[in-house]
């Protein structure tokens, strides 16, 4: 009997490809945010499928805060070589000049300058009016209400009172000059779906996701990896080798690891099905302020 039903992964894939194509077809200047993590890798993989056999019809953009794990940057460059994607890298020049970092400026200001401001600068600089992001609605409760096409005003701000209803797969991407949309093709994926898809499609991911002995310090309850000698050790902190992996990746001083033995994708999936904590519990960025994601979104962070 020939099959006429899609599995849930195929259905999610179909929806995402539809969204990617729609944006490429109607938006004048799209770009894909590429954060090097597993979600970005899945999004990039879907985009390549969506436009095959043609190359990606838009560049990918990495906002480099200069504090990413070294392995992430190496992985990024490898993927660009292998896929032939056009990579744009942007670092906030003022932030760089003033050496804005997570230690002297606090995570909030650091994130604002090196991520949020940097992103806005890059979008303005290149004149992009649509930016794909790999965010998922299951990541965090405030995202549950986020639309797939998220409308931003000319200051890149998310105006909660001015979002458009989304029905069927009829997306409305019309914007006036200066306005833009953020598009989230993975909105309906969960962390589990992402890993199942990585496994099914054999998508490469940064090795930091897999358990390995790594130099770790315990700081405010989080396991922080000493990725280079810029991490300022506090009194009494001594890096120790621990078997850990990361569930999300970002700036290394702000990303907590989890102790784990999962060193293959199937083991990660098995661990996740048994796991009892959400992936964001490892993100230091969510803890430091109340309702922080909502705030950041309004300011123009993803």
């Amino acid at each position: 009997m020939t099959r006429s039903i899609l599995s849930h992964l195929e259905a999610l894939e179909a929806e995402s490809i539809h969204i990617l194509r729609e944006v490429a077809a109607v938006m004048a200047r799209p770009v894909m945010m590429y954060s090097i993590g597993k979600d970005s890798q899945v999004m990039l993989h879907l985009a390549r499928k969506a436009f095959q056999p043609a190359p990606l019809p838009f560049p990918i953009l990495h906002i480099d805060t200069t504090w990413k794990f070294a392995e992430m940057i190496a992985f990024r460059d490898r993927i660009v070589r292998e896929t032939g994607a056009e990579l744009l890298v942007w670092t906030n020049p003022e932030g760089l000049r003033e050496n804005v970092n997570p230690f002297d400026h606090g995570t909030q200001r650091y994130t604002h300058v090196m991520k949020t401001e940097a992103l806005k600068q890059a979008l303005d600089h290149y004149g992009f009016n649509a930016a794909f992001g790999g965010a998922r609605r299951d990541e965090e409760r405030s995202r549950a209400k986020e639309r797939i096409f998220s409308f931003r005003d000319r200051f890149h701000q998310w105006d909660p009172k001015n979002q458009r209803p989304e029905l069927w797969n009829l997306y409305n991407g019309r914007v006036h000059k200066g306005e833009s949309i953020r598009v989230f093709p993975l909105s309906n994926w969960t962390e589990l779906d992402v890993w199942l898809y990585v496994e099914k499609e054999n998508i490469p991911v940064v090795p930091l996701y897999f358990a390995k002995e790594r130099p770790i310090v315990e700081r405010d309850g989080a396991l922080i990896m000493v990725d280079d000698d810029r991490l300022r050790l506090r009194e009494g902190e001594r890096p120790a080798q621990r078997r850990v992996r990361f569930r999300t990746l970002g700036c290394y001083p702000l990303t907590g690891a989890v102790e784990s033995d999962a060193d293959t994708v199937p083991k990660i999936i098995a661990e996740m099905l048994a796991a009892r904590t959400s992936e964001r519990s490892g993100r230091v960025i969510d803890f430091d302020e109340d309702g922080s994601m909502e705030e950041k979104k309004r300011e123009g962070y993803f």
Binding site: T2, L6, S7, H8, H18, R21, A144, L167, N169, T190
Partner: protein, 534 residues
């Protein structure tokens, strides 16, 4: 469990999207929280955040959208996700406040099923009817009436029955065929994920078991092949492909296709799916198609089969849900988005508006936010479309304001034939059209003719066709020509098992196909696109 075992268990599941609707305080947040909690998909850090003192408040797990409401932010839908080894679920949670119609329509547009909450202490209310109507208007075919707070009515079967009967009577007027009633206590967990010791009289299972097993595969239209072109893929001079998601039906390599609206005919050369070249693809798969001839195809065009075409017109009738503070301005030009087309469009003065509480029709001059009405839409461009009832993709559209670019309305195209029941004289019932299936008789011969016919009937009816089965005895003795003429009178698929031994033969129209078993016959039928609309 070994890692590989998890994988095989979780990888190939179906996706069910459902909508939850209820009035404030019916217990919707508690129900969703209970579902997530008992299905074991709540993380510990989220669980800690949902405690008030030492008590777990299930409603807090789903973040009641209170803050946004207070700030006057319009939340149309909040989406939540959970999985069991059987299915992945997407819940579209619509807040039950003033914006109900707009929110519900949004959440319902992509849902397979709707869970309607009824507070057992209150019974069926106006809101319940309103929710059921909107779900049915948006084409949802499966309803679950969750009769909640049964603990407060002493787990009474009589109370449950009154609600069930009252709702059933009302629902007979709606286009929803599958309605399941489940008595429950979201607070205590009875009949949500686990069964209930308190209500042994309820023979059906708990909500989750229903959500895991309700049959949705045949809700999709796999009969009318439609593929709106989203994008032309042209990497070099050699390759010219047309990318788009199949809206309905099945596409096969090598078939003749018609490009609408130009009506150029050509042949499919290749189909590129997300997983490589294939000679077959079905809705809602995204594909890139190459064609034999150099025809002119651009975004917004539609590929169809020459023997099964949609309406191709400048105007249509539709039900619209108005979604914006600025009401409908009849005669003004809007932008209409349908499949991949964005075209100027004007909307007539509504023929009527539906009072969502009573379902009665009222005359009106315009439509305000959250109002639903029947209009005529005209566009200068020819549009290819189907009735929404038949095709949830090619029959749907949104209206966009030309100046602000806001999405102001959502519309569902109404079939012209069913559109004017009041004005046209009694129509001869055209059964095949209404059923959406070709009159087709299949005679089955062979040693196990009865068994094969039974299995085929089962297959077809599970896929949504109306099937009758006759045995040879019931027909009596007719010569082949008379038999064939007789069979064609059935405006439905009629399966006739013949007990005479011989090769197994399926006859239908001029085709004769040999097959082996029910599955093979079904595959042959779909391969020949015989189950097409008249």
């Amino acid at each position: 469990m070994a890692a590989e075992a998890f994988l095989s268990e979780y990888r190939d599941r179906e996706l069910l999207r459902f909508l939850t609707c209820g009035s404030v305080d019916d217990g919707k947040s508690t129900l969703i929280g209970r579902l997530l909690h008992d299905a074991g998909t709540v993380y510990e850090d989220h669980m800690r955040a949902a405690h008030r003192g030492n008590d777990l408040d299930l409603a807090l797990l789903v973040d009641g959208l209170q803050a946004e409401r207070e700030q006057g932010i319009t939340i149309d839908v909040a989406y939540r996700y959970f999985s069991t080894p059987k299915r992945k679920f997407v819940i579209a949670d619509t807040p039950g406040h003033e914006q109900y119609t707009r929110n519900m329509a949004t959440g319902a547009s992509n849902s397979d099923l709707a869970v309607l909450l009824v507070d057992a202490t209150q019974g069926v209310l106006d809101q319940t009817r309103r929710h059921a109507f909107i779900a049915s208007l948006l084409g949802i075919r499966h309803l679950v009436v969750a009769v909640n707070k049964m603990d407060l009515v002493g787990w009474s079967e009589a109370v449950f029955r009154v609600i069930r009967d009252e709702f059933s009577e009302f629902a007979a007027r709606l286009q929803v065929s599958d309605i399941e009633f489940i008595p429950m206590s979201a607070l205590l967990g009875d009949n949500v994920v686990h069964g209930s010791d308190q209500m042994p009289w309820h023979a059906g299972g708990p909500l989750l078991a229903h959500l895991e097993s309700v049959h949705i595969a045949s809700d999709r239209n796999l009969i009318d092949f439609r593929m709106p072109v989203q994008l032309v893929v042209r990497p070099n001079a050699e390759f010219r492909g047309y990318a788009g998601s199949i809206a309905s039906g099945v596409l096969r390599a090598d078939s003749e296709v018609l490009v609408l609206p130009s009506r150029q005919q050509t042949r499919v050369r290749s189909i590129l799916t997300a997983n490589g070249e294939s000679d077959r693809a079905f809705a809602p798969m995204p594909v890139t198609v190459t064609l034999e001839d150099e025809v002119d195809v651009s975004r917004g065009d539609m590929l169809v089969y020459p023997n099964n075409v949609p309406h191709l017109e400048h105007a249509f009738e539709a039900m619209v849900v108005w979604m914006h503070e600025d009401g409908l301005a009849p005669g003004r030009e809007y932008l209409l988005k349908q499949t991949a087309n964005v075209v100027p469009a004007t909307v007539s003065t509504p023929r009527y508006r539906i009072n969502v509480n009573t379902l009665s029709r009222e005359s009106c001059e315009s439509l305000a936010l959250n109002e639903i009405g029947r209009v005529r839409v005209e566009t200068p461009r020819l549009l290819a479309f189907d009735a929404y009832e038949r095709n949830r993709t090619t029959g749907a559209f949104i209206l966009i304001d030309r100046l602000s670019y806001a999405t102001v309305a959502a519309g569902m195209i109404v079939d012209r034939d069913s559109a004017r029941p009041e004005t046209s004289p009694a129509l001869v019932p055209d059964w095949s059209r209404r059923l959406g299936q070709l009159p087709l008789s299949i005679a089955i011969r062979g040693t196990d003719a009865l068994g094969v016919a039974g299995a085929l009937r089962e297959l077809l009816s599970r896929r949504g066709f109306l099937v009758e089965m006759l045995t040879r005895d019931a027909i009596g003795n007719l010569d082949p020509v008379a038999l064939s003429a007789y069979l064609r009178r059935f405006a439905a698929i009629t399966i006739i098992p013949m007990d005479a031994p011989g090769p197994l033969v399926v006859t239908c129209d001029e085709q004769t196909i040999a097959g082996r078993d029910a599955e093979a016959i079904y595959a042959t039928l779909t391969d020949l696109e015989l189950l097409v609309r008249l």
